[in-house]
């Protein structure tokens, strides 16, 4: 019987990481930013129905970059987790922190135990009554979790977009301003014009009653972008 080849754990992890990074780099970027009324989520997405940004719970939103089928199943798992928790306890007991931890655990396990790691990077954001309390968690393909402040970017050219935003992002921007900044950031890094129809934009607006998540449709985008 032939012995299985020996591959060192370092080598295996490195290969998996490279594989996952390559998959994620193919996609377009998603920007999440705090603004004066809450949290702003922005994606370049030519499909109107295959969403990258989604509502998870009253104050919590999700964004996924990389392989659609993979982050879509993570998104659904997140909604299930949140709804079960809210039903068992109360709506206030559903938190982004617990959800982000669950994602981190599950991505970490997949990364170390499965042959093929997930080619995804995801964001979980929760809006609070004051901006200081807002939470944005970025979780990468290997389960590493980062607590972000102000703004963050996932997907294809994430680093380049972050560099662009670093010099220009300010606290308490208006919706109009964050939209403009996000469009400029993506256009500059990909070196081409973005069509408004190809944008997927949503906000977690703390001024809303009940569910804070709201999609910003094309008519409103046009009005904001004038």
């Amino acid at each position: 019987m032939p012995l299985p080849y020996y591959v060192s754990p370092e080598q295996m992890m490195q290969d998996k990481a490279e594989y996952a990074q390559k998959g994620i780099a193919k996609g377009r970027s998603i920007i999440v930013m705090e603004y004066q009324d809450g949290i702003f989520l922005f994606a370049d997405n030519p499909s109107a129905s295959l969403n990258k940004i989604s509502e998870i719970y009253d104050r919590i939103a999700f964004a996924g970059a990389g392989k659609y089928s993979e982050f879509e199943s993570l998104r659904k798992a997140g909604i299930r987790h949140a709804d079960i928790k809210g039903f068992t306890y109360s709506r206030e007991d559903v938190t982004a922190k617990s959800l982000a931890n669950a994602y981190s655990q599950s991505l970490g396990t997949m990364f170390s135990q499965e042959i093929k790691p997930l080619e995804v990077e995801i964001l979980v954001a929760e809006v609070h009554d004051s901006s200081d309390a807002n939470e944005i968690y970025r979780i990468s393909y290997d389960g590493s979790i980062y607590d972000e402040k102000g703004y963050t970017v996932i997907g294809g050219k994430a680093d380049a977009v972050k560099i662009y935003l670093k010099e220009r992002y300010k606290n308490d921007l208006s919706l109009k301003e964050v939209l403009k900044l996000s469009i400029d950031a993506l256009e500059t890094t990909i070196n081409q014009k973005l069509a408004l129809e190809n944008l997927e934009v949503a906000v977690l607006d703390r001024k809303r009653n009940g569910r804070k998540f709201r999609r910003i449709r094309i008519e409103e985008l046009q009005a904001l972008n004038e």
Binding site: S49, N51, S54, E55, I56, S73, K76, I79, R80, D83, I84, G86, F87, T88, R211
Partner: protein, 268 residues
């Protein structure tokens, strides 16, 4: 669980049955005493729904009873499910309230997973499955009889569904009322209802029907002027679901009681 399912209820049944009210008695109810214990829990009483020209009105009194005792004066029996629908419940209060809560989560869950809302018919059918799931409890005396009312965005009209304990779903074209005072409320609705009512008129009819039910049925609570407790009335139309202010309901009741008082004085 079938990961293709978008239903919260199905997921609970399959994966978290402990979160659902299901009492499995070893050999069922054995005696009248045992049945008495199980049925001597708070019961919600009269709820109703009626259509008006722009949509539908759904309302319910505020009393819960345990046998001949009042167990709660401020209970709510009409719940908003989503922007375009509401459920009103009568029967064993604990099971009823849980079912209303479950339906709220169910509709929101579906909307988030699928990215679109269920159709009114779809929501009504889902509720039918939930009522059917309660049949074992209903056989032991814990009955849930809801009314589901919604504004059908596709059809542009209000819709009303009633149910029986087996989950049987029946659409009503004008109005319906259920619970211990349901029959009394229906009599009033039958006399006063006409198609294409205005919102104000329809709300007034709903309040009057609940008032008559409270007069005839000991389980139904009337307007409580002392404590300021009045029925819950919700209006559902194309701009969504809204609550009628308690102050407005109080004013309507004062008017109603005055006119009845005058009518009786005239008879004398």
């Amino acid at each position: 669980m079938n990961s293709w399912s978008s239903s919260f209820y199905d997921m609970l049944v399959a994966e978290h049955p402990n979160l659902l009210t299901q009492f499995k008695l070893e050999s069922g109810i054995r005696s009248v005493e045992e049945r008495g214990k199980l049925t001597n829990v708070p019961h919600g009483t009269t709820v109703l729904a009626l259509k008006y020209k722009d949509g539908v009105i759904i309302a319910g009194d505020r009393m819960a009873t345990e046998g001949y005792q009042v167990s709660a004066r401020r209970i709510e029996k009409v719940y908003r499910c989503d922007d375009y629908s509401a459920i009103a419940i009568s029967g064993a209060a604990g099971v009823c309230i849980e079912m209303a809560r479950l339906l709220q989560v169910e509709l929101e869950h579906y909307e988030k997973i699928e990215g679109v809302q269920l159709t009114t018919e779809g929501k009504a059918n889902k509720l039918s499955q939930m009522v059917k799931g309660n049949l074992p409890l209903a056989m032991q005396g814990l009955v849930v009889i809801p009314i589901f009312a919604g504004y059908d965005v596709n059809k542009g009209e209000g819709r009303i569904y009633k149910y029986d304990i087996t989950g049987g779903k029946y659409e009503e074209t004008e109005y319906h009322s259920t619970g211990s005072g349901g029959k009394d409320a229906r009599t009033t609705l039958k006399k006063l209802y006409s198609p294409d009512l205005s919102e104000d008129k329809a709300v007034m009819i709903a309040l009057e029907a609940l008032y008559d039910a409270a007069e005839e049925d000991i389980g139904t609570g009337g307007p409580d002027m002392v404590r300021g407790i009045f029925p819950i009335v919700k209006v559902i139309n194309k701009s969504g679901i809204t609550d009628i202010e308690q102050a407005q309901i109080e004013a309507s009741y004062r008017q109603l009681i005055n006119s009845r008082r005058k009518a009786i004085a005239k008879e004398k």
